[in-house]
Symmetry: C2
Subunit: 175 residues, 2 copies
């Protein structure tokens, strides 16, 4: 099994020379038999089935997906994209300039939704570490690189610490 990924690439800025997979996007998981699976959170779900990273309970499994879709639609779009523009020194086009403020507002709203959930819960679903936490940790823990200040989100900050303390956690940044 092989995984193709750069750092997860916000898809509005996917390079034209990305591998010629269906959709032209990373990440892609390639199974031993050559079958391909796209979409980061579909890959997480596939890899987690049958492990303690995905609950057996039907409702909890759906809740994991609820947070995975939230991550893609409400979080990644608004928090990862501005960070990507900055960390890759992309030109400030009119589209980026005009959408930056709305993205900032919606990104903070997404962080507020997370804060609300984490005030009462150590992890997003079922009181334990699942792929919902993995999906949301990715861009939350580097949100500051997109100009987001987590100062008003103490429950999110405490959760970031809990995730980073999981067995086997490998930081992508050295602090």
């Amino acid at each position: 099994m092989r995984a193709y990924a750069t750092e997860r690439t916000p898809r509005d800025t996917c390079p034209a020379d990305a591998p010629d997979y269906p959709n032209g996007r990373v990440p892609v998981l390639e199974l031993e038999d050559g079958r391909l699976l796209l979409e980061s959170n579909a890959i997480l779900f596939y890899l987690a089935e049958g492990t303690h990273f995905l609950p057996d309970d039907r409702f909890e499994r759906a809740q994991v997906l609820r947070w995975a879709f939230f991550e893609q639609y409400s979080h990644e779009l608004n928090i990862a994209s501005p960070r990507y523009w900055g960390t890759h020194n992309l030109p400030m086009t009119e589209e980026r300039r005009v959408t930056l403020e709305p993205k900032r507002r919606l990104g903070y709203a997404a962080l507020g939704v997370m804060e609300g959930q984490l005030r009462q819960n150590d992890f997003f679903v079922g009181g334990r570490y699942t792929i919902a936490d993995i999906a949301l940790y990715a861009y939350t823990h580097v949100a500051y690189e997109g100009g987001f200040d987590l100062g008003q989100f103490p429950a999110v900050r405490a959760w970031l610490q809990r995730v980073a303390a999981q067995p086997g956690h490998i930081p992508i940044k050295q602090g």
Copy 2:
């Protein structure tokens, strides 16, 4: 079990007076015991588990999710949003004006990805009708209301017919 939904509301334009559920958004599924589930595609997954609308095979299940995430990130954002602005007569703000052309381009790209898949397959996953088709049918069959022309996507048009011919299909529009 009760479902709260208007027509699915693109979330960048969710009304401020939406029901005060976590995230302030529809649709929401309320179970008999009062538990709530958000996110349209998480709701579809929950309702489909154990039915023929969701494959038993682990890889096919992940493929269904791959298309569900594609629907949210690559399709809904670019095809449903401009339609919503028009069908609800929303003002053409600077943000909407500047993002319309990129959304059009990315929306046609998403339709092209669907066309590629449907040229070889009657349905998106496993050769049969699943929630991947249900998720993608929703805004594809009214894409013309957002200014999209399906003329160059014959496989998508044939698939729309196949979906509409499913037993129990209830059109939201009378033709």
